[in-house]
Every structure is written in structure tokens, then in C-alpha cells.
Symmetry: C2
Subunit: 478 residues, 2 copies
Amino acid sequence: MDEIIFSLEPGGARPVFLELSEALIAAITAGRLRPGQRLPGTRALARTLGLNRNTVDAAYQEAVLQGWLEARASSGTYVARDLPDGTAPSGGTAKNAPVAAAKVRTAQPRLSFSDGAPDVRLLPVAEIARALRRVLRGPDLRASGAYGDPRGAQALREQLAQHLAAQRGLAIDADDVLVTRGSQMALFLAARCLAAQGAAIAMEEPGYPLAAAAFRAAGLRVVGVPVDESGLSLTALEQTVTTDPSLRAVYVTPHHQYPTTVTLGATRRVALLDLARRHDFTIIEDDYDHDYRYDGRPVLPLGARAGGDVRLVYVGSLSKLLAPGLRLGYAVAPPELLGPMAELRQAIERQGDLPLELAVAALMREGDLWRHLRKSRRIYEDRRDALCDLLRARLGDRLAFTKPVGGLALWARLGQGQDAGRWSAAAAAQGLAVTPASAFCLHGETAPQAFRLGFAGLDGREMAEAVDLLARASEEVR
Amino acid sequence: MDEIIFSLEPGGARPVFLELSEALIAAITAGRLRPGQRLPGTRALARTLGLNRNTVDAAYQEAVLQGWLEARASSGTYVARDLPDGTAPSGGTAKNAPVAAAKVRTAQPRLSFSDGAPDVRLLPVAEIARALRRVLRGPDLRASGAYGDPRGAQALREQLAQHLAAQRGLAIDADDVLVTRGSQMALFLAARCLAAQGAAIAMEEPGYPLAAAAFRAAGLRVVGVPVDESGLSLTALEQTVTTDPSLRAVYVTPHHQYPTTVTLGATRRVALLDLARRHDFTIIEDDYDHDYRYDGRPVLPLGARAGGDVRLVYVGSLSKLLAPGLRLGYAVAPPELLGPMAELRQAIERQGDLPLELAVAALMREGDLWRHLRKSRRIYEDRRDALCDLLRARLGDRLAFTKPVGGLALWARLGQGQDAGRWSAAAAAQGLAVTPASAFCLHGETAPQAFRLGFAGLDGREMAEAVDLLARASEEVR
């Protein structure tokens, strides 16, 4: 008996349960799992895969919602006999192969539209290596003692404060900054310090799934608030705030909404700050790729306008400027919140990576980082334009989009009757990874039919090939 | 009116509340705070310092317990009128200066007995810089995609599995290993995955304070179990386990107990595993400086003997081999625990620092790391011997110790009538940092009178000077 080996990518942008549900769906479309076949219990599969049982549960539910699996009361979960329209399992050799996997393996598709990552090939490696070498040999590391400040290296906090004051209008100094492991840890720390028995946080839907993961891991209940063509709906948020007294915080991505890329309108910004004032909740503002703006001027963050009467945590990342593998982010918050966040950070991991922090501070001070930013911004602007041109030429009748004014991704809305999940599965079979909107929704069934297409990691040839694969996959699911 | 500026070292090995209580005590001994002076409320001081109010509370309590402060019911906290014996506030110029501080500042003593950190000056910087440069320029970083595996780089997990199998007798492979940010994050992740409403964890007392911080941050209640000259008391542990049904886990440092450096005896090891089997709790074994053993053979960890019927999380660190600022640790755990730990790690910080992980994997594969270990082990052995000789010569009548067979610290027990807190405060005034046993105790009042003297970071000249300062401070508090 053959075993079905799932190829999961736990490092991807998507929650593990979605990876697993898509692996299940891929196994069904490939004929490795047959209609009517019984799946193993969630407990057993969780043990085999080394996953949490809740994760497997969520994956099964997702696939049930999409029509690929059927849950039968007190009997278990089965591959649906009546598969989603047009799916003819492709024969296949495995007959009712048992679902199991010795290990979770990491597989890479040939090409990916990321969720908005920069191109690691552009990384200024010579400059970074030189800066690290100088730090490792220099006096700063020793002068700082064996262990460092859990708030991050003073030199880096100073550089970040200067940069954020100059570029983002924040009236801060180094003591207002906490260096973290990417924005991810900043979100976790803020959420955990705001968490209390039964407390909730509101976030955009569709929104950033790893933010939801951070908030849940911190012990907060996550409530979705709809997003429209001007960003977060303030009407919906006000209703949520008014009816849910346990709401402690609102997470928002005003500059380029994640995943739809729209900028939160000026009126809504004022309304959001006003709402926070009246209902005394904390705003967590994620300004994640503010450095990339191609058309018009960057919009200043809420943090620049909040004033002392709004409690706001401003979160950002250097990973979009360098590489996702170099984990550097930061939080700016009032002292009564930043203090506990720094203490928690110490409890979690003691401190950050001091050599890396000092090296990046040097790259900022000496301008290398800004030269790299200017260079990559030009390249990414070209890639955005190339993607827009290719999509219009090849897929103009099947999807619509607004050219993004900044950021590293494009939001493509599919035409009537098209299914992003099936299209994405067909693309995966061709070796192209593309993320459907359901991956960004707390409730998959209400997800719009759309893709988030991160363009920064694809050069001209790769972009043409990726759009070609996307167009071919579209033919298959027509 | 002058303000009292506290110099805190939030990056130190000690919890922030201890730093604060010692800063308060230092301000009293220096005469900057006068007997009878009223201290600000905990809420106000917490806000000014950007600390959690609980931290300030704990600091006040600690200073009250030591006799430096007095709490008066419904009136507040005051500097004690009757200061601990022999403390004559040294005149001073500040008259009842208000207690406040604009910012928490970082100050460094001139010399430190660390809590057991390696000497960062021995770091093989050329080798590390070369390895990082190769990684940044090479194909591995790109091949791994923009984002990496939240369990850590495959290459590093393979090297760690091989090393732990060969050196520590663990029957594991790469898939059993989760790379973390130092052992600190491994402790937090394990604890958070074991946490449940009202659950408790037992740990050695005296024990590792940052472990307690990690467990509390994860939501566990921490219960202390006494340590004697053979390590953790199994009699006391059995009593705790039997009477406290909420106990989910036991944290233990069997190789070199932290802070007392003793090795857990063979009979107790068998008894601990047996107890875990019978009462179904998880053992968290911290094998933190197993690489440093000078006399006799290293003792294999519990993890090598546990068998499949004991649930055990084995935790270790590469920070003791390299530098504390390079945050690399690891956890080995059964899949049903390692899976959720990896998921939580992703929620907290997405992934580790891929370039650093790949570079260290290369240093392990090519042997540079082991050459560095052999070299530094010889140096630390000499430093241990030098410290023992100096202590016997200068302070033989005032403290006693057993020469540690391994590790990077020595446990010095003070003679009758001597007060480690006062001695340590007098040393601090001389520019020498030395940590009293109370810093390692959940309940300061039961702390033994002892010091943990980390010797690895002091060369011959510094060691002589540090012991000289310690001896002088001892004269002052005689």
C-alpha cells in the first residue's frame, strides 16, 4: 500500500492548516485520494504529521467548506463523492492509498508569487558581510558586555528613531523604540501585553494571517472587520466596538492594506483615531512596507497624528528592506506598554542578535541601506509595471486590478464564476505558487475570489513565465 | 530638587525587579535616599520607569524583606529608619531627593562575575565572518526561498542532531530538533505548549530566574523545590507532585545545577524518571553548558535514558559555545510537542535568522566550532583553577566552595553571619558586579548566603583584580 506523502511548506506565509487543506485537495485532484475514501481521524493524522490536532481539524473543515471532503456524523471524514464542478480525478495509480506521512517535508514550487517578499538576490551581501565583520572585530560588541539590552542595541534604536522621525513623522527618540524579530514578534509582544481573560482584538478581513496567529498565540480572541475599496470599514468597526465590550485593540495596515494594497482614506483615519479615543482601545498600526511607494507621496502613519490621548503601538520591519531571513523589526509604543513588552521579550528570548543589530545600525548610519533601498525601489517599480502589462495582455478578461501605488504586491480580483482556490490548485500542479484570498480570511466561506500577487521576487523572464503558467492554469479550470 | 536616577541593567542575567531593588538599596547606602523618606507609589514609579507595576511591587517587597524599606499600612513605602546593621548612610549632598528617573539607563560595572557567560573576546570572529559571507553570497540562502522553515535551517538541525547523538547519547535525527533563539525561547515555547488554566511547573530553588520568567510569561504557576548538595531533592519533589494535581512539568538542570553547579546524582536521576512515569508530568531538561567539563567524563543527560514512556523536552544552547549575543539554542521533543512548539514559534517570530543558522551549521560541519570549543575549554579550566586559588588565598576564612568539575561558574557559600546582599552592594560600589543567591530564589527570605561566580569572562589580571575588590568589599561589611 502506498502512503500519501504530504508536502507542506511550514515556512510559507500561510497558516499550516491551509497548507494541509491544500495538500489534501491536491491529493484529491491528482487522484491519489479517491471519492468516498475515508480519511484518518484528526488525532491520528496530527500525531503522524507532528501537528496540533486543532490544525488538522481546521484543515479538514476548510476542505469540507470548499466541497472536497464530507464530514459524516459519528463516522468520520471522507473524500466527497460529488467533487467540486469539473474536477475529474486523473486516474492515478494509487488505489485508496492510506493517508499518512512519516515526516513533514519542505517542498518548493518552481516559481512563486510571494505574499509580498523582497528579492533576496538583490541583498547587498558584500556590504552586510563587511559590516558584520567590523562589528565582530570591533569594540562595540565587547563594550556592550556579554549580554545586551533586551530592547535592542542602542545604536540601532537611535538609527530607527531618526529614520522614523524623518520619514514617517514620528516624534520619538531611541528610548521609545523596541527592536524585535521582524514585525511578527512586535505583534506578539504587544498582543500579549494587552491580553486579559476573554479580551478580543479586531483586525481587517481579509487581513494578515500571521497577525491573527500572533494574537491567538498571545491569548486574544480575533474578530474580523470587513475591508472595502477604501480599506477598513469604519462603520463595521464602530458597530463591533459598540457591541463587544471585551474589545481591547484594533490591528490595522493603513498604508497598504494587507492583502488588498489599498491606502486607508483620510476621513477614515480621523474617524479611527476618534473611535479609539472614545472607546479607549489600543491601535496596533502595521506600517510594514512603507519604504516602497512609487506614485505620489507616502501617506504619514496614524502614529504621526495620534497625539497623547490615543494609545498606539506602531510596528514596522526591516525584513522588507533586506531579506525576510534577517529578522529585524521594531515597535514604538508609550512607556507603560513598551516596558512590559521589553520584559516579556526578555522572558521569551532574553535579547536580540547583537552583531546583526549593530551591523544594520552601521549600514543605516553610513547610508548603504538607503542606497540599497533606492536601487531596489526602482527595480520593484519596473517589476510592478511589467506584471500589470502582462496581466492586462494575457488575463485582462479574467481578472481586474488597480495598479498598486506602492508595496510589493498586487491584488487581482477574479471575474464572475471563477474560483480562486481551484485556479490556485491548478497553478500549483504546474509548479506555480499563488495565494487565493481565502488564505487571508478568518472565515474561508466569505472570502472574495482574488489573488495576492507579490511581484518583487520575480525578474523579467520569471515574471513572463509566471503569468504564462497562471494563464495556462486558468484554461484548465475554465 | 535633584532626581534620583536609577541605573538599571535590563540586559543582565537578573530579573528586572532585582535590578531595581538593588538600585534602590544602592541609592540608600549612598545616602541619596534617606531613612524615613517616602517612596513614590508603585504605579507612579512604574510609569516613570516604563516598567510593569508588578515589577516595581516585587522590587519594593524584595527591599522590604532585606530590611531596607518599610511598608506602612495604607500610607506607603518608606526607607527604613532602622537600616540593616552597620549601614551608615554616607552623608551625601542630596536632601530627600525625589525618587524619579527620566529614562532607564544602562550602566556597566568595571568588572563582573557573570552568571556563567563565555568570554566574547575569544569568539572566532574571522571564522564566523567568513562563514556568514559565504552564506550570504552562496546558493543555500536563495535555494531556501525568501522565508525559511520555522523549525530552523535543515543543515543546522542535521548538525545538531549528529552532535547531540555523538556527545550526549540522544537517539535523534534532524526532524526531532527545533532551533530556537537561545535556550530561553525553547523554555518559553515548551512551557506555553504545556500551559493550561491553573497549571503549574516545578523548578529547582535556588534555580535559573529567567526560566521562571519564561514559565510565568507562558502562563504557568511556578513552584520551587529545594536543592541540596546532590541537586534537586527528590523527596521534596515527590511530595510536591503528590500534593499538587495541577503540576504539569518539572524543570531541571541535572548536569551542572544552576546556580549551585552540582551534578544530579545517579540514584536521583532514576527516581526522577520513575516519578515522571508514575505521575505523567513532562520533564524539561536544560543541559545548558554540557560542553564544558574539566574533570572526569560528562554525565549523559536524562534525555539519553528517558525511553519512550517519559515525555521529556531536552533544551540546550549554542550561546555558551559562541557568544550570548548570538542567539542560538535548540529543543528536542517528541513530535506531539515539537509540532505545536514550531507552530507557536512561527506565530511569535515567523522563523529564525537563516544566514546565522547556515553559517553556524558550516562552522560545525567544517570543525571550526569544535576547535574553538577545545581551545576555550582549556582557557576556562585555567581560569577556574586561578579563581579557586585566589579565593582560597584571599577569602578562605570567609567563604567555602567545592571546585566545580565543569561549567563556567563557581558556587561560593559564605561563612556564618555574613550577608550576601550587603557584601554584593558593597562590591557594586567598588565597581564589581557579583550576584547573591537571593537573585536565584523565588522567595528571597529563604535564600542561602552565597554567590554564583562566573569565571569564564575574566583573564588572569582581571580575575586577580576582581577577587581583590571582593575581598575589600568583604572588609567593609565585616
